[in-house]
């Protein structure tokens, strides 16, 4: 029996037996039902990903031949403006400073806009780059050099208009807490290639963790071994895994073996799958004591690489995280999640508007991202690593007008109806732009792509039918895309 089936059967058996016996006095019939339901475990055959061992992180097979083996997801937390980066709308120059038409406001909900806002023209200049003629703003000079490797989706839309729920939606498929992130689904489905490193690693920069918090990389109802491990590029890479002073490593190894033996005995008795997780985690933590510091130490990179990324060893920066992302995927980590906070350009100050604020954030990220793409490409990693860039929603073509905001502030409010995401590598068509927004960049009008569609597409590239990668919980099969999502086949090579 495979591990998943095993867990599921045990789960069902335990839950049904205990709960029915305790809660109902009718007894015998329910026990029969309980064991009946337990034997339905065979139903999961068609869904469960097969694995030949009980190790939860062991390698598993996807549903069909994958185009990507790994993912690097660059999340620009706070939601970058599509209108200052990739979605150029010349008409907005003309409308700049005019009252926004009432039709724009009807039926819309905004995070901050009150009354009738003014329109705001593009705060960047645009040119077309590469053979593909991709439109990129002057804030991103390095990225424009690799434009031919990118696949832009200009017609993204979401259902959430506040940061935390929208981020949760982007990563877990639900705006509420409690669902596993994509990285957890992926490690659950594929296991990890490098048994010395976690399958799902998170790196955050920008001075603040994203609003969605650690739930963005939580494992939800999946066993906790699949949760994302946050690493730091400054100080101890992973908190609380290094040994206390002067502790002997062999002794530590024996200690962990003993604990695991005891846990195994307990598992045999009560069959709680979380005990298996715990055993796997002890082993992983022990291995990570050596493997993580080694991988996270970027000092051994040659000078030209540091130059290319703009990295400074020992500091906490987005550039360092980009370089780490490459090192991690090179070692076989499945899912590397980068967050960079600070793209919430409401315009309440110069430093946080769509003119200077966004320029600054672009500057921090442009060179490292372009370097990451070039570096992945020259090493052949882009062949089977999918890179995704984007925020949690877009921004309005209207200027933000909230009570007390400076009248000349150049900010934009949250816009769930249109934003741009790009992908690269991993079997996605390079050098194309998919989907269109209206002439204001306010709504998608052609080939709209919903968050669940993006998620379905990412899973598809990893070899999964998003409708079949499921986990039974509270009586039904859950999946990343809930009951939605269509793979965007048009952007696949």
């Amino acid at each position: 029996m495979t591990r998943e089936q095993h867990i599921q059967q045990e789960n069902i058996r335990e839950i049904t037996r205990r709960h029915f016996l305790q809660n109902l006095s009718t007894g015998v019939g329910m026990v029969a039902l309980g064991s009946l339901m337990g034997s339905c475990g065979s139903l999961f055959d068609k869904n469960s990903t097969t694995t030949n061992s009980l190790n939860p992180l062991g390698l598993k097979n996807p549903h069909f031949a994958p185009r990507a083996k790994r993912v690097i997801y660059l999340h620009m937390a706070g939601a970058p403006s599509q209108l200052e980066t990739f979605d150029y709308k010349p008409l907005l120059h003309k409308l700049d400073g005019q009252d926004c038409p009432q039709s724009f406001l009807e039926g819309q909900r905004f995070a901050f806009i009150k009354g009738t806002p003014k329109m705001l023209g593009p705060q960047a200049t645009f040119k077309q780059y590469g053979q593909s003629g991709a439109t990129v703003s002057n804030h991103l000079p390095y990225l424009s050099e690799v434009a031919d490797d990118l696949c832009f989706i200009k017609s993204m839309h979401t259902t959430e208009f506040n940061h935390a729920p929208a981020q949760l939606f982007m990563h877990t498929g639900s705006p509420r807490l409690g669902r596993p992130g994509i990285g957890s689904w992926v490690t659950y489905g594929l296991g990890t290639e490098n048994e010395n490193l976690p399958g799902f690693i998170v790196l955050a920069s920008g001075g603040k963790t994203p609003d969605g918090g650690k739930s963005l990389w939580g494992s939800g109802f999946l066993p906790t071994v699949y949760q994302g491990i946050q690493c730091r590029s400054e100080g101890d890479p992973v908190l609380f895994v290094s040994d206390p002073h002067a502790q002997d490593r062999t002794l530590k190894g024996e200690l962990i073996d003993a604990i695991n033996d005891v846990n195994q005995v307990h598992y045999d008795k009560v069959k709680d799958p979380e005990i298996q997780s715990r055993i796997a985690q002890y082993e992983m933590a022990y291995k990570m004591q050596v493997s993580v510091p080694e991988t996270m130490n970027i000092n051994d990179e040659p000078a030209y690489i540091h130059e290319m990324y703009g990295t400074e060893p020992g500091k906490s920066s987005f550039a360092n995280n980009c370089l780490l992302a490459r090192r991690l995927v090179e070692k076989g980590v499945r899912y590397v999640q980068l967050f960079h906070w600070g793209w919430d350009h409401h315009g309440e100050s110069k430093a946080n508007d769509c003119e200077d604020g966004i320029k600054l954030r672009c500057k921090e990220t442009d060179k490292p991202i372009a370097a990451l793409l070039k570096d992945l490409k020259q090493r052949g990693l882009l062949e089977d690593t999918l890179v995704v860039w984007g925020g949690e929603f877009g921004r309005t073509p209207m200027k933000e007008s909230r009570p007390g905001a400076p009248p000349d502030g150049k900010g934009r409010d949250h816009n769930p109806n249109a934003f741009t995401v790009w992908m690269a590598g991993g079997g996605v068509k390079p050098g194309i732009s998919y989907g269109e927004t209206d002439e204001f960049g306010y709504f998608g009008i052609k080939n709209k792509v919903h968050v669940h569609d993006l998620q379905a597409t990412i899973l598809h590239q990893l070899g999964f039918d998003h409708e079949k990668l499921t986990f039974p919980y509270q009586g039904r099969d859950f999946r990343l895309t809930d009951v939605h999502g269509h793979v965007v086949h048009d952007i696949l090579a």
């Binding site: 097969t50 390698l59 097979n61 031949a65 290639e193 490098n194 076989g332 490409k377 020259q378 052949g380």
Partner: protein, 456 residues
Amino acid sequence: MNTEFLKSISIFIGHFHPLVVHLPIGIIFFLFFLEVIIWFTMNNSLKVVRIYLSFFSMVTTLFGLLLGYLLSAEGGYDLELLEKHEHSGQILAGITVAIFLINLFFAQKVFFEKLFKGMVFAAVVALSIVGHYGGSLTHGEDYLALSQISDTKNAEKIVIKDINQAVVFSQLVQPIINQKCISCHNAGKMKGGLRMDSFEEIIKGGENGAILKVGNSSQSELMKLVNLDPSEERAMPPKGKTPLTSDEKQVLAWWIDAGATKDKKVSELKPDTKILALLKKFEDGAVDETEKLPEVSKIEEKTLAEISQLGININPLSKESNLLDVRCILNKSSWDDKKTASLSKIKDNIYVLELSQTNITNASLKTIAEFKNLNVLFLQNTNLGDSEMNQLQKLEHLEVLNVYGTIITDKSLEVFAKIKNLKKIYIWQTKITQNAVEKFNKKFPSVTIITGSLVI
């Protein structure tokens, strides 16, 4: 407020009918089981809840009935069935009212016990009848018929041996419609007044008239609706259902353009080569040429386990295939030519091979050249030079070759030119000269050479 608006509001409220009706179902059955338990246990204290349950079963039944009236205003149902559902529903409502009233007024009477039990039983019977008609309305009349179940199975199994001999409507068009449309457009459930379960019905059209303009697919209502973006209100099938694939849409369009015939075969309609290629995909056993993976036999678990012991990850490419994805990830430096040689046991199954940073020498190439189904080969950051590189020419399926960080020279590049299906070569940090790359690019434009941004 206009009446249109009122109507749509009332229909909206009516949409809660399928939800609300489950309340009386639960309550009435509970009432029934309660009577059974009282019968067996003679536990009279349970009798006090009768009055409450009777009350709730009455209220929820009446509420369900009301919502049912609102919902039926939407139309699109088989009238005969609808009438049966309605009448039996009214009878059930009557019974629940009666149960409540006798509970209220006659609970102390001698005849009460028997009457009450009898009425509850009648309610369960009536409920089953209402439920059956309701189910037939939503799921179709033969949803529960065994014949239907085997029918649909057979229907899915339409086998097309030779596409030219296939009857366009019955073997290509109707199966698509059965799969994606029929659940809402059948005899029991005629959404938009449209049935699509036979040729004649499709030609007849829906409440707004014909849905086909024979000979002109782009002017046909049917094609207009299926071509809408799935998020549009009027798109068919509606949001949330699986949309038609572009292949399916093209088949429907071609059928309409070619006259929307009933009995004509593919060859009689003279498809051009493009359409024929498309139709070929519907032939039995046809697979998309681009996605076709070589078929190989399965390797025994024991053999795989033995080889992985050497320190290499072996994983099937997918559940559908016996091909293998083989990667050396840990302890790379202990992987040598001898270990490569032991991969020969699985040589036909290796599809992806990753031996970067290992200790292999050019002697390994001879072994690797025997892996005839190899598609992707990672050999970067090894000590490989030019010798024996020509062995790789044998690899007819090789598409991606990564040899960056090796000491190969222009000589190897010449050799690579002879690998039949090669699409990409990674040569960053090798001794290959810019000059040779340029020459190669001119001669073989179909192969991409990735030199890397920094040539050192």
